[in-house]
Subunit: 237 residues, 2 copies
DNA sequence: ATCGATTTGTTCGTATGTATT
DNA sequence: CAATACATACGAACAAATCGA
């Protein structure tokens, strides 16, 4: 098995070089960069490659380009670089433990906010989900949908988006094959947990929703870590 | 006052068009795209513009390009698109209320994890911070540093990075001028809170650290919302 | 208000390296 | 090994935006 090195292309190298220059303080926020042609020359690449890199950095909010003016280093460059690193970490290096730990922190709060802020229409939707007889047809997709629905009712969009991103990671990860729902007993247990949480939310009982969600996630974490302690330590994707 | 419309350039439009095609299902994950020349022709742009857009989408993990093979839509395209949207929201549209609500959820947990996982060396650093006489010289920067330091000790890097990003937002926002630290009484109060949290952490008392951090943030939120109820509703930046 | 200088935005043509067959 | 298909990269040019004289 070959390590499968990915050859980094020029623009990726350039991006790292430039962010390094900014972090080291050599390129300070606010200063104006040389024009693209000079930049390309000094980095010894073509203007097109230079532009690709600048575009990506602009996309992250690190640089700002305006026609006729030039390119400047954003005043918020430092925080944008952290933004970028956060994004890349979330995309590539999130272990299942980290994700579950984060879920355990934010989801009980999301359930509590949902109980306080859910609309009447959303209550109706939530009731319908659990009135229909779902005998054995409870899938992992239903699981994701439930957690996402609750988070939407919370109106706390930062955490909602974070949860969505993490759940998408889990959905795409190797971990899915070890999902507790493979076990039919766990399926039924999970379904009951969801039903309990939903009831707490529609009756606007924030503290009950919080406690039930915390208990639900703790149970799932224990099942995962006890059954698959080895595999779980592997990184996602 | 002119609305200051920024002309969207071609690659930005292209990115939106392509993500739209993927979200609508027209371009499904896994399928191979036509080569760059054909793509550029069908979108009626030049190859360089096409490449700039593809590069950015590749950077977000939505597309995958390999020389000699072609460009394919990533299997994780859907979650990557959400990732991208989350990132953009966090970067541009986070209100102070949302940020503070999120901080109130994650920071007590981070303090608790820090109490459990802090190293001896970090304990020493934390003690030093509060043994020195900081008579009146407690700045907003110290405030940020304290919260960041605690989050680093938690070893929960997802929440740590999220917090860092949010604090950077606050630091760069208009809100800084309304900061509670303008009030010297609040400065002293905030410093005492930090000291108490630090003591709980170095003595590995997780629940005390959690409770003190929660109380600290709640106090600050109340000060902010009572004193500056109008301004606070404005978006950041 | 026009003109010219500067700089990014955009396009085309061409050459090179890499992977598949 | 050769042919093919493709992304990667480079260079030169024109268009459009901005600013200052």
């Amino acid at each position: 098995m070959i390590p499968k090195m990915k050859k980094v292309n020029l623009s990726t190298q350039l991006i790292e070089t430039i962010t390094g220059l900014i972090e080291s303080g050599e390129w300070a926020p606010g200063i104006k960069l040389p024009n693209e042609i000079e930049l390309a020359a000094s980095f010894n690449v073509s203007r097109n490659i230079m532009r690709e890199s600048l575009k990506i950095l602009e996309n992250f909010g690190i640089l700002e380009s305006r026609a006729g003016i030039g390119t400047t280093i954003s005043q918020t460059a430092m925080s944008s670089i952290y933004n970028m690193r956060f994004f890349n970490q979330l995309k590539n290096d999130s272990s299942i433990e980290l994700i579950m730990e984060t879920r355990l922190t934010i989801e009980p709060a999301l359930a509590a906010y949902a109980a306080k802020r859910i609309s009447d229409e959303e209550c109706e939707q939530l009731r319908r989900k659990f009135s229909a007889p779902t005998d054995g047809n409870f899938t992992r997709r239903d699981d994701f949908d439930f957690h996402i629905f609750v988070s939407k009712c919370s109106r706390s969009t930062i955490m909602e988006n974070l949860l969505f991103t993490m759940l998408s990671q889990l959905r795409n990860s190797e971990y899915t094959q070890f999902d507790v729902h493979a076990d039919s007993q766990a399926v039924a247990s999970s379904y009951r947990s969801h039903k309990g949480i939903a009831e707490a939310i529609v009756s606007h009982d924030a503290e009950a929703a919080r406690a039930l969600m915390a208990a639900h996630l703790k149970t799932r974490m224990e099942v995962i870590s006890s059954s698959y302690s080895v595999e779980v330590h592997r990184k996602i994707k």
